[in-house]
Point group: C2
Amino acid sequence: MTAYDKLTARFTRIATLGETAAFLGWDAATMMPPGGGPARGDQLAVLAGLSHGLLSLPEVGDELSAAEAEEDAADDWRAANLRLMRKAYVRATALPRDLVEARARANSACEKVWRDAHHKSDFAMVLPHLEEVVRLVRETASALSVTLNLSPYDALMDGFQHGLRTAEVADVFAGYEIFLRDALPAAEERQARQPAPVRPKGPFPVPLQEALCRQVSERLGLDFRHARLDRSAHPFSGGTRTDVRITTRYDEADFTQALLAVMHETGHALYERGLPADHDRQLVGEAAGMAVHESQSLIVEMQACRSDAFLSWLAPQLHKTFGGDASVYHVSNLARLWRRISRGFIRVDADEMTYPAHVILRFRLEQALVGGELHAADLPAAWNAGFKSLLGITPPDDARGCLQDIHWYDGAFGYFPSYTLGAMAAAQLMAAARRAVPGIDGGLAGGDLSPLLGWLRRNVHGVGSRLTFNELLQAATGKPLDPADFQAHLTGRYLA
Amino acid sequence: MTAYDKLTARFTRIATLGETAAFLGWDAATMMPPGGGPARGDQLAVLAGLSHGLLSLPEVGDELSAAEAEEDAADDWRAANLRLMRKAYVRATALPRDLVEARARANSACEKVWRDAHHKSDFAMVLPHLEEVVRLVRETASALSVTLNLSPYDALMDGFQHGLRTAEVADVFAGYEIFLRDALPAAEERQARQPAPVRPKGPFPVPLQEALCRQVSERLGLDFRHARLDRSAHPFSGGTRTDVRITTRYDEADFTQALLAVMHETGHALYERGLPADHDRQLVGEAAGMAVHESQSLIVEMQACRSDAFLSWLAPQLHKTFGGDASVYHVSNLARLWRRISRGFIRVDADEMTYPAHVILRFRLEQALVGGELHAADLPAAWNAGFKSLLGITPPDDARGCLQDIHWYDGAFGYFPSYTLGAMAAAQLMAAARRAVPGIDGGLAGGDLSPLLGWLRRNVHGVGSRLTFNELLQAATGKPLDPADFQAHLTGRYLA
C-alpha cells in the first residue's frame, strides 16, 4: 500500500462519517420532534470531534509528506486530491483545540441570542456576543493566515470556495456597483411602463403544490430513486451524491415560493448527483465550493427556469394543476411576476439585479470586521450608510438591516461573496453552454433541461474539486470569471 | 478525575455515537430512497468500527481495573454500571478482528440469499451460506464462552438479555409445553362454541388510520414532542430516549394490523421514554434487555389494550373514525377478532397462546445448531418434526417452516427466547401492578393507561439496566420469573 492509498482510505472513512452528519442535519431540519434537539447537538458534536480527530492524526502528516514525494504519473486527479488533503490537514491542525472549542461555544451562544434579538430588532442585546464571535474569528483567521500563507480574510473565504481572493472579488464587485448605478433606475423605469403582473388567486392546496414541485424537479432531471423532497422552515439541499435530500416550504396562499425554491434546490441536487463517482468520498470528488454550488442552483432556477422558454412549458402545467383563470398563467404574466425588480431591505427576498448589492455590502463590512477597522458596535451605522449608498434606501430598523442574516451571528465570515460569484458564474456558464449546445433553449421550451444538464455534467459536475473556481470557469468557458456575462444577462432580461 | 469518571465520559461518547447509528437505521427503514442503500451500509459500518474502536482501547481495560479497585460508597447504580462496562469491554475484546469481520460478511451474504430463498421456498439455495454463518457463530460462542465463563449458548443469549440462562429457560419452556397440551384444545373447543367474529368492512383510508393510530398512541402516553410515528415495511421502535421513532404499516382493507402494531411499538417507546434520565448514555441507564423490552410492548398491547376494559374505550373511537355498522365495533366482537386462537405456521401471525410454541421450537433448534448436535442441512426435517410435535401440524413448505424468520440467516442466535420470556414477564408484571394499584382496569376502561404506566415507570422503566431480568422481576413482583402468571392470564382470557 502506498502512502497515497493509505490516505485515500483514511479520507474515505472521514467522508463516510461526514455523510452520517449530513443525514442527521437533514433529519433535524425536517423530521426530528423538538424534544430531540439537545441530544442531536451532542450527536453532531461527537461526530465532528471524531472526524477532526481522524483528520489531525500525526500519521496523516507523515503520509502526506510521503505521498507528496511519491512518483506522480501526471495524474491530475491524484495531484488535486493530494493538494486538497494537505489543505484540509493544515486547516485541521492549524488551530489550537481551545480556540476551536471556544468558537463552537461562542457561535452557539451568539446564535441563540440573535434569534431573540432579530425578533425584537434589538442589536444591543446581541452585541456582546457578536463581539466575542468577531474576536475569535479574527484569532482564527490570523492563525490560518500564517499556515496557509493567505491574508486573514482570504483564509476564511478559501474555506468556503477554493481559490477565491479578496483582490479579484473586490474588483468584480466594484464593477458591478458601477453597472448597477445606471442599470437599476433604467430597469425600474422600463418595468413601470409595463402592465402590473396579476397574482394567481389561491388557495393552492399543499398536496397539489407538493405534487407539482416533485413533478417539476423530476422533469428537471432529479431521479427520485436517489432523492427526496420534504418540508423545512428554510429550503435547503442536503444528503449525499447517491441520496440527495431537498426541501421547500409551502404557503397555501401562494405557490411561488415553494416552486422556485424547489427549482433552486434541484439545481444544487443535480450538481451533487453529477459529481464524479470514480472519486466518491475523496475530497477531489466533492463539489468545488460554495460559489460553484450556488452557480448550479442559479443556472437552474434563474437562468433556465425563469427563461421565457421554460415558462412557456411551465404555464400550462400550472393551469392544469391549479385550474382557474388561464390568463394569469400566461408566460408574459409569469415573467412579470417572477422577474420583478424591487429595491428591498431583505437579501433573501431580493431580485437577481439588486441581490449583488446586498452581498457587496456584507463583503465590505465583514472584511472590515475581520481586519479590525470596524468594531461590532459600529455595525448598524455602517450597515445603514452602506445600504443607502448602494441601493438608495435606509433600513427602518436593524431587523431589516444588520440583524437579518444568521451568518455572522453563527460565526460564518467569508461566505457571502459565494452567492454573487455563483450568480455571475451561472450566467457565464449558461452563455458558454448556449454557444456549445444549440438545443438548450429548444429543450427548455419543452420542459427539457437535459441538453443543458449534459453540458453541465461534463464541464462542471464531473469535475468535482479537481479545479478551483477560476480554473473551472477557464476550462468550461474559455476565461476566468468575467462579470460581463452576468451584466449581459441582466441587460437582456431587464433592459432590452 | 477518577477512573470511573473517565469511563463514564468514554461510554457517554460511545452511546452518543450509537444514537447516530439508531437514527440512520430508522431513516433507512422509513425515509431513504432505494439508491441510498449501499452508501448507508458503509456509513453504519464506519460508525460500528469507530464505536468498537473506542470501546476496545487498552486504556479502557486499565481504567476498568482502576475503577473496580476504587472506593465504592455502596452505590448500586455505579456498581451495576461498572459490571456492564466490564462485560461490554470483555465482549468487545474477546473476539479476534478477523472473526468479527468474517461474521459481518457471512451474515450479510447469507441474509441477501435468504431473501430470495425465502421467496422461492428453496432451503438448498441458502444452505451453504447458513452453514458458514453457523460455523462462525459457533466459533464466536466458543470464544465468548471462555472469557465470560458461560456455556456457548448462554454467552450468546446473555448478549440479548443480561442474566438469561439455558437451564431456567428450558425448564420454563418444558412447563409451557405441558400446559399447552391441554390448554390449546380446550381453548379451541370453547372458541368453536362462540359466534364467529365479524370483520369490519373497509376500505379504511390510510389518513384516517394514521390519525387514529397517533391518537391512540398519544392516549397511551406517548408524547409526540419526543416521538414520531411513520411507516415501514415491518413495524419497529427506534431512536432514543428523548426522540423515539415508532413505525407501522397500513392496509386499506383492514386497520387491525396497523393499530395493534402501534399499540405494541408504543409499549416499546414508553419504556425508552421512561429510562432513568440521570443515567442517560450510560449502560446502566439503558433498557435492561430484549426480554424486558418485549415485556413492555406486550404489557401494553396484549395485557392492556386487548383487555375488555380498554376495548370498551376503543370501540366507540373506532366507530367514530370509520363509521358504518356500530355492531362490528362492539367490545364482544372486537374481543373475538383480536383474541382468536389459531394454530398456524407463521410466528409473527401467531396468537399469544400458540406463540410460545414457535419460540420453544427455535430455542431448541438453535441450541442444537450452536452445540453442533444439529447440522444446518438437517434443519428442515428437524423443524417440521418439532413443529408437528408442538402444534400438531406440519409446515407444507420451508417458506412456512425454517425459512420464515430472518434471525438465523442474519447471524442472530440466542434472541428468540426473549419473545416468550417477555410475554411471561408481561403477565407477571401486570398481575403485580393490579395488586399494587387498584385503578388500573378502571383507567383502561377510560382509555387511560396512566395508573399502569406510573407503576411501570417506577418498577421497570426507571430501573434501567441496574437489575438483571430475574432481579427486576423479583424487585417488582416479589419473585423471579414465574410462568404461572402467564398461564393464569391465558386461562382467564381463553378458558374461563
